[in-house]
């Protein structure tokens, strides 16, 4: 009998008729819920997570930063400045309207007016309709990151969002106050929202006419509840109140792993945690030898092991593995003896005083990391005056670059190396907005030139060389202190197949989740 069954299964699998697993009803606990249902209102993890449930992008990232077809079934570069996408013909919006190129054009126009998203689409002059199912996106200069930016184009239902309601334009993007799009939604995604109580729960139900009939996902109903406290979220999972949680605090990993019936899934993340060394406020930091000494005095490995409980990847550069600019050989350089030697050479044998600031509720264990860094620096004679504060107070201080060393975490919106430099290590320029987060006031024309060139280079190999060169320069000049890339973790009941749907971007593709 057993034999017969397995044979039957194989036969069914072979013909693509595998038993469709029973529909599942799951509860997911995150640390927060999306602030809005409008995918263009805020560029944040929460909103993008929601977008991947209610909408579909033209293309989306795979686990190894490659691209996979969604609304666009084919794409090709026509010339240096033009890129063509061919759209699927069988896509229906939640409202019942069929998706055409007009919706994509409409969505692009709307993105260009969104304060949060227009930066990503700044390189483009227009997105034009070629026919009902073909669009071309045209950049003013040759632009290499078209597919990366296409992961942010979630076509919206132009008919649904056009017109007026209560005298107000339904398509307007409102940051504060109510808008039609922040509470009503018609996307193409695997789920529709059936009820939403902000801060309490969002109920998603599977969209009956979802175009992706090949998706293995069998979740019929997904309830998302925000649970702020790490301990409470974990308790909810352990007590069976929820099926999946994210994030899982590093201290709780052991507990999750050792519990029967519950699995921990981790993915190496891409958010870089680093310190800037402010050359404007502290003269000593202008000396490359002092900066090198600081980088050599910090034990990245120790921080990752002790404070992050192994739940991070030590960093010696900006780009994590898998990014085009990642250079294998640029690793952390902990060497106390050399650090002391460098301090001596720079004439700071007796050390000096330095102020440091870090948030205490923004990144994983941020305050402890800052404390550890301060005590490591004391070993080479640098006396650190450390202040940690809640993020709400930290950002105004960061805007002013108030301390000699400021902590900053960065995640590249385009999953690309150049983005790090554009915000963190290029010369500050109020006009172009480059180096907007550069609190080190590090300035190197060579780096600026290379990044700008790379952003206009459409040949991936050449581009990769340029960005690798940037990383090497930053490494040799100790432009900043790289600490680590934060990892991501999900805790879930064993019957949920979490691994295939999660990625370093932290946008789980819940539409494809299989529950056994």
């Amino acid at each position: 009998m057993k034999f017969l069954k397995s044979k039957l299964t194989i036969a069914l699998l072979a013909t693509g008729l595998s038993f469709s697993a029973a529909a599942a009803d799951i509860t997911v606990a995150y640390d927060s819920d999306p602030v809005t249902l409008d995918p263009h209102e805020q560029l944040s993890g929460g909103v993008l997570q929601m977008s991947h449930m209610l909408f579909d992008p033209l293309v989306r990232f795979t686990k190894d930063f490659d691209f996979e077809a969604r609304i666009a079934e084919k794409w090709e570069r026509v010339n240096e400045t033009t890129f063509r996408f061919t759209l699927r013909k069988d896509v229906k919006f939640h409202s019942g309207n069929a998706l055409t190129a007009d919706d994509v054009v409409w969505t692009f126009e709307r993105l260009k007016t969104s304060g949060d998203f227009k930066g990503i689409f700044a390189p483009y002059s227009e997105l034009k309709k070629v026919d009902d199912y073909t669009v071309e996106i045209i950049s003013s200069e040759p632009y290499p990151l078209v597919l990366q930016t296409a992961t942010y184009i979630f076509p919206m239902d132009s008919k649904f969002y056009s017109g007026e309601m209560d005298g107000k334009d339904k398509s307007s993007i409102v940051k504060h106050g109510n808008s039609f799009a922040s509470t009503n939604v018609s996307g193409t995604g695997p789920f529709v929202v059936t009820s939403r109580e902000q801060g309490v729960k969002v109920v998603y139900e599977r969209f009956a006419d979802y175009w992706d009939t090949n998706s293995p996902g069998n979740v019929d109903k997904l309830t998302l509840v925000p649970i702020k406290e790490n301990a409470t979220r974990l308790a909810a999972l352990l007590s069976g109140g929820v099926d999946l949680i994210n994030p899982v605090a590093p201290n709780d990993h052991k507990r999750v792993k050792s519990t029967k019936g519950i699995e921990l899934t981790t993915v190496s993340g891409t958010r870089l945690i680093s310190f800037h060394m402010n050359q404007n406020s502290n003269e000593a930091l202008r000396d490359v030898r002092v900066r090198q000494a600081i980088v050599h005095a910090i034990n990245n490995d120790g921080i990752v092991k002790r404070i992050m409980k192994g739940f991070a990847t030590t960093a010696g550069q900006q780009s994590p593995e898998g990014y085009v600019g990642h250079v294998e050989s640029l690793v952390p350089r902990y060497d106390l003896k050399k650090a002391k030697q460098l301090m001596k050479e720079a004439g700071y044998e007796k050390g000096f005083n330095l102020s440091m600031m870090a948030p205490n509720n923004r990144y994983v264990n941020d305050a402890q990391i800052a404390q550890a860094t301060a005590s490591m620096l004391s070993k080479i004679g640098i006396k650190v005056d450390l202040k940690t504060m809640p993020k709400a107070q930290y950002w105004p201080e960061f805007d002013k670059c108030s301390a000699d060393m400021m902590m900053i975490g960065w995640h590249s919106d385009t999953e690309d190396s150049a983005n790090f430099s554009e915000f963190l290590t290029m010369t500050r320029d109020a006009e172009t907005g480059k180096g907007a987060y550069n609190c080190g006031y590090y300035a190197n024309p060579k780096v600026d030139q290379l990044v700008n060139q790379a952003n206009a280079e459409t040949d991936p190999a050449k581009r990769s060389e340029m960005l690798k060169e940037v990383e090497k320069i930053l490494y040799n000049e100790a432009a900043f202190v790289p600490l680590h890339w934060q990892d991501l973790a999900w805790g879930a009941k064993s019957n949920l197949q979490v691994d295939p749907i999660v990625n370093a971007l932290n946008f789980p593709y819940f539409g494809d989740l299989v529950v056994k």
């Binding site: 805020q42 925000p226 308790a235 109140g241 805007d399 987060y437």
Partner: protein
Amino acid sequence: MFTFLVKRLFQALIVMFVISLVAFAIQDNLGDPLREMVGQSVSEEERQVLRDELGLNDPYLTKYTRFITNAVQGDLGDSYFFKRPAAEVILDKLQATLELVFGAAIIIVVVSIPLGVYSAIHPKNILTKVIMAFSSIGISVPVFLTAIILMYIFSIELGWLPSYGRGETVNILGWHSGFFTKDGLLHLVLPCVSLASIMLPLFIRLVRSEMLEALSSEYVKFATAKGLAMNKVYYQHALKNTMLPLLTVGGVQIGTMVAYTILTETVFQWPGTGFLFLEAINRVDTPLITAYVIFVGLIFVVTNTIVDLLYGVINPTVNITGKGA
């Protein structure tokens, strides 16, 4: 009575005005609300435009005048996060908090009175010592620890009770209550017990000491000497007189309890005003923070006024019964 009320009302107005001034003044030191509204790659220019739109760049007096003008008309501003009037959001979440406080109050009354009375009547009994020891520990354990321990035992290890949220609620004339469903009641148990645990030791001790005092008073001795049944002496004569200070303290403590809900609600992800306030601070949702501070000020002013009034009403009655006994 009337002059007292008018005087009280006048005082309350001054208090509320001062609170509004303070609540508004702290706004600028809470951080930058824009950071919570926009992505990290949004330019400073773009943020300035939004700041102008929100009127955050106006001078303090302009902002305060605008605020107070709207406030006296009942408009405390819109929450940045909820995108609805802050007062409305608070009233919405108040239901959950009131149910939590109500549940905790029931536990306190039901537990503290019998235990306090028992330990006063039998001061040397071993059970009394256990009760007293327990209440000493109870006073010194912070509420979030109690909450986490309870959660660990009853939801994780035993799996009897849910660990977060309100569960199923029923809508009764616009009030979403958890008291009428099994699921809702189960969700209430742990948060209510945790919240009650802060006040319980205090009340047990209060009942006990008041009861001891009553027991050593002349009228109780007289009643005992008269040969009344001991139960009648304890529960009809002595206990009645311990209730008055209980009412006074209880009234004032309800205000304090609202403040303690912040911790309890955070641990249990209870969607009430306390959790709302903490989240508002994290998000720098200034209109909501200001509205909450004013709202809590109002609760204190109102409960204190009511307690004062009640005291005035009850006090002469106490004297009369005192004489009668």
